[in-house]
Symmetry: D2
Amino acid sequence: MSRNFTSDNVTPACAAVMAAVEAANQGPVPSYGGDAHTVRLAALIAELFETEAAVFPVTTGTAANALALAQITPPYGTVLCYENAHVATDECGAPEFFMGGGKLTGLPAADGKIRAEQVAAVVALADSMGVHHVKPAAVSLTQATEWGTVYTLDQVAELSAMAQRHGLRVHMDGARFANALVHLGCSPAAATWRSGVDVLSLGATKNGALCAELVVFFDPALARDFDRRRKRAGHLWSKLRFLSAQLVAYLEDDLWLRNAAHANAMAATLAAGLAALPGVRLLQSVDANELFVALPERRVAALERGGFGFYRWPGCAVAGDETAIRLVTSYATEARDVAALLDAARGMAPA
Amino acid sequence: MSRNFTSDNVTPACAAVMAAVEAANQGPVPSYGGDAHTVRLAALIAELFETEAAVFPVTTGTAANALALAQITPPYGTVLCYENAHVATDECGAPEFFMGGGKLTGLPAADGKIRAEQVAAVVALADSMGVHHVKPAAVSLTQATEWGTVYTLDQVAELSAMAQRHGLRVHMDGARFANALVHLGCSPAAATWRSGVDVLSLGATKNGALCAELVVFFDPALARDFDRRRKRAGHLWSKLRFLSAQLVAYLEDDLWLRNAAHANAMAATLAAGLAALPGVRLLQSVDANELFVALPERRVAALERGGFGFYRWPGCAVAGDETAIRLVTSYATEARDVAALLDAARGMAPA
Amino acid sequence: MSRNFTSDNVTPACAAVMAAVEAANQGPVPSYGGDAHTVRLAALIAELFETEAAVFPVTTGTAANALALAQITPPYGTVLCYENAHVATDECGAPEFFMGGGKLTGLPAADGKIRAEQVAAVVALADSMGVHHVKPAAVSLTQATEWGTVYTLDQVAELSAMAQRHGLRVHMDGARFANALVHLGCSPAAATWRSGVDVLSLGATKNGALCAELVVFFDPALARDFDRRRKRAGHLWSKLRFLSAQLVAYLEDDLWLRNAAHANAMAATLAAGLAALPGVRLLQSVDANELFVALPERRVAALERGGFGFYRWPGCAVAGDETAIRLVTSYATEARDVAALLDAARGMAPA
Amino acid sequence: MSRNFTSDNVTPACAAVMAAVEAANQGPVPSYGGDAHTVRLAALIAELFETEAAVFPVTTGTAANALALAQITPPYGTVLCYENAHVATDECGAPEFFMGGGKLTGLPAADGKIRAEQVAAVVALADSMGVHHVKPAAVSLTQATEWGTVYTLDQVAELSAMAQRHGLRVHMDGARFANALVHLGCSPAAATWRSGVDVLSLGATKNGALCAELVVFFDPALARDFDRRRKRAGHLWSKLRFLSAQLVAYLEDDLWLRNAAHANAMAATLAAGLAALPGVRLLQSVDANELFVALPERRVAALERGGFGFYRWPGCAVAGDETAIRLVTSYATEARDVAALLDAARGMAPA
């Protein structure tokens, strides 16, 4: 049982993934990807996404995002993204580093979802400034977003179409892609390349792996020399099987979907329970496994005293006596964890 | 039993390390290093190296080296190293990338060991050229070297003293540091900071871990903001415990030394056996776990036909009918593996 | 006579500067700064700014800014500036390139002047995010601003004090520094280092030179190895005297101040004349040599038909029938040029 | 009269170039290249080189080289060049900086000319190492070389063909291109694109300009977005006409060829005179305007006492009592300057 709702990255690896790592501990095995797990991974992605794809396992979401963006953005280019996207605020400048000095152009979005019109406006401005301005080269959208919302397929498609019209590539930061996919209830292909996505950072760490993310290029030609980018960033493991094996286990037998469905369900239960309390309101639609909630400060303080872990969240529009918090569920969240938090919140209500 | 002598990176993780990873699979646990394993690791290094140190676990040797070099070299600087050092030829330009365009100045060295006089000569040339030339900022030495030799303590100290005299920092690429340490028979402190080393890339992957290397700064002040460099390179794991736990297990109970001692012993046995054969000669002193051997081509071909794995090695001074090969032993090499190779080599001798 | 009010960078070089270039055309002369003009320049700056300073002539304002910012900001750092500052929008990512992937954090400012509280807020946010966020390392303010306003000495001092309190350096983009200085009516020292500025990009090109800007570090220790940064950026001229001679002529005999005073006076006359017209309003205080004016669209079109050159300016809050334009005067603007534009504007008024 | 033989970068601008700068000092004139001089320059290059080309004036040879190399080399790539090429040793890492961490692979060459076989060998080695090694992407040759020699057309063509065979682009560092061209006696087209050169750094500063170099892409498609690279490096002048006007004057009326022919002739006279002296020998073929000469140390010291300026040159194979020096002539060297040096050298002979 856990009272920790701070993040889905505090979770252990799930049993199937850990078992896969153990099973991969044979030897000797060819290094740098010449192993059966890495080969199997590529086939599995092709099957799940219904297309040939070039895949590159890496260790962290920051690596996946920064490498992917550097591949599709020249050093004199810019990536259009939500102004508080993870790539913009939580990666210590990794995209800019990997791009060799390229930029991110942050766009406002109350629900974390950028819009096609915003892309058009940035492109128009850049066009008017010519060589003095960085060149819009890519759009990066986070799916599920940093606010726990999920782009609809239409929203993704509209954004991608606008990007494509202006020669921009589309990157999807899918640190919580499985949670979004479960919410959308569509195929992985529909959620990505069929909606115009060129490259996906497919997260696994938050949803059951030890340390595994996957960069997926839906057009293998777009991945030209990407292997060298990964290598020169120190992100090519010699014993790559230990990374690939995690991803194979994660993707096989729908484990990723089952884990995400559970996390989403826990979030939904939590959201419903909280929203029913007087003085409590949800700040965003709870589409995936993150909740942003405004509560009276005394309730927040009481939950903290009760040993519950979560973040007070800046940047939310709240009333003077309200405090915004973020709660995150995961594949490892148990129903009793949610019940305990709701009980605690209810218990305080009369106070 | 294995006939694979290609590299020590084809090995599995050793049992104690894998057990530690499994044991670390609890949760929830604070992310990004706020876990007990990472704390324990720092204490363990301080104890083993007899000094306060700043330690940063990363995934690959390339990451460890490139991050460390970027920390001690400005973008207009150069790192002096052996011309065929791993950092110069096998990391796809990672040091240059991480330094932001800094350079490596390659120095010739028949045995892989660069000399203090070479450092002095490069510094003198740079001084004579002033602002037109990159600034010598660091020396990087590989211990054990790329040729399987080991710098003596005096050699390290002399090199470091020369570096220090000219304001250069000293980095040690210790991908096979344990093998060198066992050969030297000295303390970790003597092998590093007491000999003038500022920062060490301490390898574990080749010697029993899944994917763990450690950057060790012997002067914590030198590590200022290094955590941001690691983060922006995508090398800060959210579930860092899985990395730290490997290193703790690796360093505890002398596991690293026992593994390395075994690998070195296997190499010594192999070297002695081969050297006793007519027409076979060792190209370098076998100080650690790598052998560079010249054999008649027909013997090499026969070993390959016998299923033995190893690399034909370019860049060696051999006679026309000789072929140079590299053989690598590891903690996982068994005495019978060595015996099998020697038997095969002997069996061919009469031919 | 000229109807061109597009920018002060369309001007010729003024006579004294051109004469100095011609006078410098002797030879042979030591290259790379070992000439008398460069030596004289350093002495002149020390005298004018009443302090020892390290000075580095370069060709463009972009080079001056980007080099200066890279000197005071690590690659994992960020520079706080006005969101539409020249460094942020008009230099095609030069600061990010020179910093090696560092960032700019854009701050809103209706008059182009950022405030100390904004700096404090960014620092507080970054502190709360730790290693995941880039490190606030510098503040860059433009003086005169991109909106033709001028920071008061108190505003500069307050901003600098806040920066200093948090360990940030202060850069001043002085592409139009002389115009600001004339407006302030204070000494160069008061306008810069006595108000807390660490490094100044001192522009000359817009105010009478061919192609000369000067990076001035008020603490020479802060300029350590800056000469190498300049060299590796291709900004060290071999025949540096031709650059230094421009700057000497520019700064001697108050030429820079006289030129700027004239440009400012032309702007003031133009502003007064326009503001007196019905339906015309100034969008910003006209402190230097740039005017941002809202006019009825038919007036704007008429001025264009009359052959007057200027930019329609995006990003201004104007009414539906208004169009915002930018008018720039310079040292070369003549009183009759201003009169002609005002006549034309008045002539249309009745329409 | 001058005794300065240190370099051709100590020269003044020649009269025609200075006159062109003065003539360009009109205004207002469109900035950033929208001027008639820049337009004229492009037409002139097309005419002289008999092909459409994309041309970009910049200030320094370092800028021209580094920008050109960054355009044709990815950040994970390497440029093959002579190990002591100007780009490798005299630009403080500019190419590496502009490439975003790419490398230079230095090749030995006694006469400064690299050979096709060397390119083939590097490519073969890189191929054998795969992703671990940087990708050979370009060849850079210096014409005339750093040793004052000139590649024959056949040598250039052979090198280019080999480069092309392996997908490498060819860059020519033509800091002294005019001197080479005069030596070859062929057309500019024959010396460059007809021999396989993709991009040329065409120098003017050493041969009569104030500060002008030109990057010439013989396939305009290869120059895509190069204007942004130039801008973000701070190398786009606002008053670009002052740069373009220099180059127009330089290239018109064969001025560049006349200047270079004169410099070469002075070098030839000097070489012949020196070679006739006992104990003096030329270390390289004197094809252009640089001489590398071995003399008895007492002669060198005597010349220095006589007030002659030149560099003692490291890295030459000389006997114990010999000293190697470099002498450089220029368009501004007068016959009496050469005579004076020869007289001085002869006068010392008996000693």
